[in-house]
Symmetry: D2
Subunit: 342 residues, 4 copies
Amino acid sequence: MIRVGVIGYGYWGPSLVRNFAELSGCRVVMTSDLQPERLALVQSRYPRIEVTRDSTELIDSPEIDAVAISTPVSSHYDLALRALRAGKHVLVEKPLTNTSEQALRLIEEAERRKLVLMVDHTFVYTGAVRKILELTESAGLGDLYYYDSVRINLGLFQYDVDVIYDLAVHDFAIMDYILPCKPVAISATGISHVHGGKENIAYITAFFEHALIAHVHVNWLSPVKVRQTLIGGSRRMIVYDDVQPSEKVKVYEKGIDLSSSTESAYQMLVSYRSGDMWAPKLEMTEALHVELSHFIDCIEKSQTPITDGHAGYRVVKVLEAATESVKGRGRLIELAGANARA
Amino acid sequence: MIRVGVIGYGYWGPSLVRNFAELSGCRVVMTSDLQPERLALVQSRYPRIEVTRDSTELIDSPEIDAVAISTPVSSHYDLALRALRAGKHVLVEKPLTNTSEQALRLIEEAERRKLVLMVDHTFVYTGAVRKILELTESAGLGDLYYYDSVRINLGLFQYDVDVIYDLAVHDFAIMDYILPCKPVAISATGISHVHGGKENIAYITAFFEHALIAHVHVNWLSPVKVRQTLIGGSRRMIVYDDVQPSEKVKVYEKGIDLSSSTESAYQMLVSYRSGDMWAPKLEMTEALHVELSHFIDCIEKSQTPITDGHAGYRVVKVLEAATESVKGRGRLIELAGANARA
Amino acid sequence: MIRVGVIGYGYWGPSLVRNFAELSGCRVVMTSDLQPERLALVQSRYPRIEVTRDSTELIDSPEIDAVAISTPVSSHYDLALRALRAGKHVLVEKPLTNTSEQALRLIEEAERRKLVLMVDHTFVYTGAVRKILELTESAGLGDLYYYDSVRINLGLFQYDVDVIYDLAVHDFAIMDYILPCKPVAISATGISHVHGGKENIAYITAFFEHALIAHVHVNWLSPVKVRQTLIGGSRRMIVYDDVQPSEKVKVYEKGIDLSSSTESAYQMLVSYRSGDMWAPKLEMTEALHVELSHFIDCIEKSQTPITDGHAGYRVVKVLEAATESVKGRGRLIELAGANARA
Amino acid sequence: MIRVGVIGYGYWGPSLVRNFAELSGCRVVMTSDLQPERLALVQSRYPRIEVTRDSTELIDSPEIDAVAISTPVSSHYDLALRALRAGKHVLVEKPLTNTSEQALRLIEEAERRKLVLMVDHTFVYTGAVRKILELTESAGLGDLYYYDSVRINLGLFQYDVDVIYDLAVHDFAIMDYILPCKPVAISATGISHVHGGKENIAYITAFFEHALIAHVHVNWLSPVKVRQTLIGGSRRMIVYDDVQPSEKVKVYEKGIDLSSSTESAYQMLVSYRSGDMWAPKLEMTEALHVELSHFIDCIEKSQTPITDGHAGYRVVKVLEAATESVKGRGRLIELAGANARA
């Protein structure tokens, strides 16, 4: 029975507590939050969970084996580092840290102490994304040509992070999971409509070694909510539309076939294929349930989580590069180091 | 009665001939095409139109007042220049020319000879785009924040132009018409999946002097057809979805209000507005009919068309910059000259 | 402070308890259910609410002012009657009773004792339906021509009621609320695919005195979920699509204008109007919250609820007629009595 | 080379002429219409086709082998009978005739003279409907449970026919083609909003011998265009949405499994299946092209068309019954004779 402490009971914390509470191999023993009214809410809902305003009390409690952190990004590094040093396994909300340097130090600390360090890349644990991985791995798509995602809505303008850290993190976490290779360079553009504020619209291109390109469009100022990802391969193409209540993943038997013309070296022939469309049934278990169950499993069996510290590091590395490129209005930022390392 | 000659009876030429034929102020007297079977088609449909394989015969015919050119882009400049020198008014399919230099020379030739030079930016003449201009001009949107367009489908790979010249030209033509200012710099990325071929996917960001950003995503390799443009303003936002059979333009009473917090200079307050949505009835006349009628009008009244040579030049200037930026993997290309000039 | 008891903690009971718990003018003091595990759930969630397997204990408790009943339909009448006789105000889940006779007896009992009797016609309290009433009352639609509803999905086959009592009840409750007149006759068809079971598909036409017709299609065996209502008027028409996450109600400036031709008495001229479409912003408060708040208000102020016993009676009268008509394969069932009475 | 005459160049006639003109095995030699301006249109488009206002001239012409009739329904019988008596093969626009008696007489005349009599049930020749037949015949759907169609829009109010003859004819033509059995009784309701006019809204239920039910909703007064058919089977279910530009036919691996409970004879267990969805690629050839090609084939090879006179008769028999039932406000009309006969 893993004893869990949850730091932060704001937007995402309640989902963490509820899902931990429904798992059989663990129980939540303590929750901390800076706001007393949030703690009162915990108490009314879960009379048996202890509450505290002091995260140090939670981190240092000998009654706790694992700590889940769902606080603003800027506090992730300090809290996670202290929890690791206190010998706790740690789950951190996305993105893992503000900087890739911080992510590296957390990885080192966890590895030295043989503790589980996991980042909450929730989408990786959805039935949709796991089905897409299955299709990708089984070579069902053929050679990958492009990955294109639009993640926009009239969203909460945040103060500690820009729209890249808030929304694009999901897309790069998914790509880190399903693509067979890692990006080597980033070019991004964006804009802030709040004077002195963070970017609220961004367009990020990721380049890869092979003829694969990825692009992510994130926007907090859209009148409509769009969550649509296109994945184009040489054999099949996928449309993943997360706002649909059903048939979120559609697989199209569509594409092009390229062949050199015999008549002229300069002429290429492109022929178009168009066949059936197919929407596979998806596993419907709540992603966070699958994820937390995996976290508990990894602790019990001393295993490495799918979304471990390295995954968190690689994603932060891309977010850092994107933010830097936006400042240079599309300036290319190489990522070679990130890949060599990871 | 303006006498018209149409050069090129391939993909777009038949629409030009059909629409000219239905206008009262003009008649098509000759059509040229390099392929005899295309000319046979003209003859079976329009027994009274003369046909020729030789565009020079058409251009030099004293029976012709105006020439419409719908041939591959690479031939636009030569044909248009010869037609202007022969004293004909000229309508050129989009994009006007391959290079902005060529566009400037056509403009000079037309101005010297007081001839009408018009580019076939068809979307400018649709009920949807004219309604959007009306909303923009009446300040119904407030300050413009962004213009975002996705124009993708499983499309014909072309050999003489890339996907930017083929598809993004529409978006920049629309922007040239409805936005109150012109782009000052471009950063674009893209990829070609055909060895040695032209780009078949591109992402283009246009920067403006004020806090406005534009982005265009074009792709010949998408399993689904998308034609969606979002225009975000401080008062209202528009979603223009051209694949819908009805309600193509939706206006949302949505947005944010920004205000400085009195408590802290560092804190900004963002409040969200959400109200009705409204889909105005659109004029349904075929865009090409409106456009050709305008062309004939401009000739008869010696007026400047809405989509004159300068509009064609400004759009080609952006396409050129985008193509150059793609080669530099997002490298920023300044457009100052284009705006100073136009 | 109204003290509430809730009978039945199955599918709908938890929503009742949660919403009563969040209201300020009342508190839930006791909940009953036949299954101990359901009561355990109540206790874990609301430690202060008493639980019992015996509904009589709840009904007879002097600590309770009002009883909410969310049990199978066949038990509604007995439980409600006993509660009224015990001097409690009563809220009953839809449909009010199995038969219209039972509904009449509940109405009489409540009126004699001056108690509030309310039926849980939830949709009446949604922002969408209240907006539609507003449009209907303000004559925004002109003369009403038709009301057409489709309410289908792959749903739970029920054993105590057919698809008419399960799903069509919603549509007739909405019609009872928004239409200015009541149906005078019913013709319905349907089928059961479970041997000896209740109808799982039904088509119900309601006739009115004027040139208004209503139709409801309900189906437990549809591969897709549809919740779409069309309301056609002489001036405007409404499409109410309840599965949309936003813009559930769309108002179309569309219709026909009829005029006698002067040339011939036998010729009618129909002209078609087509204008803007408009999706009004809807009140987003949870319907059950609005409804329970109204129930508490009516108790405190001795007022008649919008969905009182008479509304419940009229709707059951229609359901009865529809079920009878289905058995007669479309045989017309007159409803004159129902309207005379109510 | 079959020589064809086309009577009627109004709404549908131009499509007939265009498609006949593109077929290799036939040619259109004459077209008749009562309005001179329609004939002028024929001449401008097809200089080689003779025109006449007198359908008798066309019918009696020895230069003509087959006659296609696209005139108002009330004239179908007379024109078709005269054409058959003149020894011509005949294609008649849907519905075949006004009354089933007329249909029978045409069938007799054609059979006696060994001429092809075909009715223009166009949807039967679409890729979508042919694919649905394939799925139905291969037992891919299991036992058929229901067929439900909605065919509504803001449509032309017609004077010679009601909405049943205008729109529901399509659905009953499709059912006649794809369902393994024929309806045995009809119950229908409807309304006319034009004083003294024909019904403009109708709801038609068709009963079959087995546990299959069909329903058709047709409406000329809907603000939105809907063309959606659901076909429910015990193994799979189909959604056929004809207004979609692609993926018109979707096959759902969804349904219920019924089994008797061993514990109680009165208890039935229903379990729900939910699997993949699949949209098969459809043949895209224009339906009318396929149909006219079939007509010419049947003439050349003396074969019976898929949509022969008997199909036309069976469909008119249903339309007659529906119209009669509407007048009786849902009164059941038995169809036994129709099936015995056909």
